[in-house]
Symmetry: C2
Subunit: 356 residues, 2 copies
DNA sequence: ATGCGTTAGTAACGCGCGTTACCTACTTGG
DNA sequence: CCAAGTAGGTAACGCGCGTTACTAACGCAT
């Protein structure tokens, strides 16, 4: 199977690559003329004829502009940098996807640099600073800073040297603009959906109560209940580890505590992994979903939500949208808009599947 | 909450950034001297004293080299490009992670460009070519081409202009080197594990039989059985959709076809999503895992395998390793090694959890 | 013939840096 | 005292391109 194909490119004297000068010579004009045509300047006067000659030369020679040289001369790189732990903990990849797509639309390039969690210790400590430093050496025009889960962060000082936007996290120092999910509205829509299905007694499987996600989602749930003239029974809120096991245990606790009559008819799980565990607890007891107990999740982790049986109705985190919005915001900033250090909230849409 | 912080950076006349010249002046030497010190050349003779002065100037002025200019002058960018549909279909993100980490170690930068599936039609057709074109404009020294699932691909012509390595796919034209998972060995290790646990009658939930993953894994399974003097009963191989539902249906078919005595005591599911469905089918019939029926999966999709109950024993696809190996291979190529168009196989380790 | 506006282009500088060739002291051995 | 190093630098070119002068030719009304 192993066969040698070509002599290596690098082995040969690095092919010098055709430059604008070559194109100019081939077309019998000056390099300036070529430059004008390629960047089709408004007020440049080049006859249709020579313009055509130049374009043909470009075609024939296979000329490819040198982005680096262009950046050097024009003093703008068309690059944004994104530094994120998502590369190392790929939970919210869709942020990158959204940012990529938007950047691509804007004809910009996204340089992705890895960072470990801000609170990491050990050999990778300081990796984040190094990453930002590297990006600045590439002369990125702006920075995106994205986290895997919604939280407050401290951004390295050097990030303040260029316009910076935070995604899925916010500046604990309150100096930078950020894009975050609207957890409260999400929690609200989830519970509203349950209410609409007729449920009145709703159990909540909570996360670590301190993180923004838990705070917001729970607040939203309370609001929805209040609108219906109900209150959240504190006894029905059980916190657990943010895993399937945690969800299983919390669900067991709730389910076993009551008789069939008092038992909640629906569970709002604050993330999908916990919902996964809750499924097991419910099925184990011979109950059906959503017949006996409805379940609604949060996060829309595709691999879980779309493959559970029955498929899980859940609230989606708008990762892709946040990524795109981050790039748009950054574009506005680099275009000269004043920096407003607020949090843009992005809605969390309800995804109907089959568990309610 | 909304408060205006600083006047925008871009609004002010773009801060010119301190250059090597500034450093030189500050230290009272020539720019050449600074350059020599910063790239600490061997045979340059700079006294310790001036060297110190220069370093201090760098520190004081906060000098940051301009990567673009450096690339232009030195004719090497230290950049690799990776073009992949992973950005749009994030299943195998770990490839990027592995590549990133390795690139970071080698002090290289990874430019990530999105591509849609090669066989995509519609508005994004040709996006892949555009992505490669963009990367070449950045003067990347080599290309990585990564796919989300193991298959043969046709690489755009322009990719042949620089050293290119395929990851998790192989060149259907047989001209480029590639890194792929060793599916056969993986299938083998899975079945060996079941045999070792005493199972003799093993059901297989198969994928679309045409894709390399199915072919390889099944071949490996046969080998393992042959080593034990057994044969794979064709009746026990059921193909299904590569989803949880597909796995559920296939599992039902197998389980319901036999009496308790003839029924297989173990299921080899060719991917974890199908194993997820199989779990449901098994539990639904009042059977336990692994007590009544052992299950082993393939792919190690963390979100599924680690959160199923019981946690799924499975064979992992070595995404991260393949990414790293891709970069290493590329480094060798750009360093001048001849290009060998073979497929490097990377082992698929067994991950013991609790389902066998 | 003169002046002026337009069209069609070019020469030349600078972006920030790597690199080669050269230059000036200051030793050191004979 | 002289030739031959050697330590410690520097001047200047080029990388590929954007951009700002500036020129040269031409048409046209005065």
């Amino acid at each position: 199977m192993a066969k040698i194909t070509t002599p290596n490119h690098a082995g040969a004297a690095r092919q010098r690559g055709v430059t604008m000068n070559d194109v100019a010579k081939h077309a019998g004009v000056s390099r300036t003329a070529v430059s004008f045509v390629l960047s089709n300047r408004e007020n440049a006067s080049i006859s249709e004829e020579t313009r055509a000659r130049i374009n043909e030369a470009v075609q024939v020679l296979g000329y490819r502009p040198n982005a680096g040289a262009r950046a050097l001369a024009s003093q703008r790189s068309d690059w944004y940098g994104i530094v994120t732990e998502i590369v190392t903990a790929p939970f919210a990849v869709d942020i990158i996807k959204g940012a990529q797509d938007q950047a691509w639309l804007d004809r910009r390039f996204l340089l992705i640099a890895p960072s470990d969690q801000a609170d990491a210790v050990g050999p990778n400590q300081g990796m984040e600073d190094a990453a930002i430093e590297k990006l600045l050496e590439q002369r990125v025009e702006g920075l995106l800073y994205a986290a895997t889960y919604h939280r407050g962060v401290h951004v390295p000082e050097s990030a303040y040297e260029v316009p910076t936007v935070l995604i899925n996290c916010f500046d604990a120092d309150g100096r930078l603009p950020s894009i975050v999910p609207d957890e409260r509205a999400g929690g609200r829509v989830a519970v509203e959906r349950l209410l609409q299905a007729g449920h009145r007694r709703i159990g909540v499987i909570n996360l670590d109560p301190d993180i923004p996600a838990a705070v917001g989602r729970l607040a939203g749930a309370r609001e929805a209940l209040a609108d219906a003239g109900l209150e959240l029974d504190p006894e029905l809120v059980v916190a657990g580890h943010a895993t399937a096991d945690g969800g299983y245990e919390a669900a067991c606790e709730i389910l076993d505590r009551y008789t069939e009559k008092d038992r909640p008819t629906a569970l709002f799980c604050l993330n999908d992994r916990m919902a996964m565990g809750a499924y097991d607890a419910i099925k184990e007891r011979g109950l059906t979903i959503p017949g006996d107990i409805a379940v609604i999740g949060f996060d829309n982790q595709e691999l879980i939500a779309a493959y559970l049986r029955p498929k899980l109705t859940t609230v989606a985190l708008p990762f892709e949208k946040m990524g795109a919005l981050g790039v748009q915001t950054l574009a506005a900033l680099t275009a000269g808009q004043p920096i407003i250090a607020d949090q843009q909230l992005v809605g969390c849409p309800l995804l109907e599947r089959s568990s309610v």
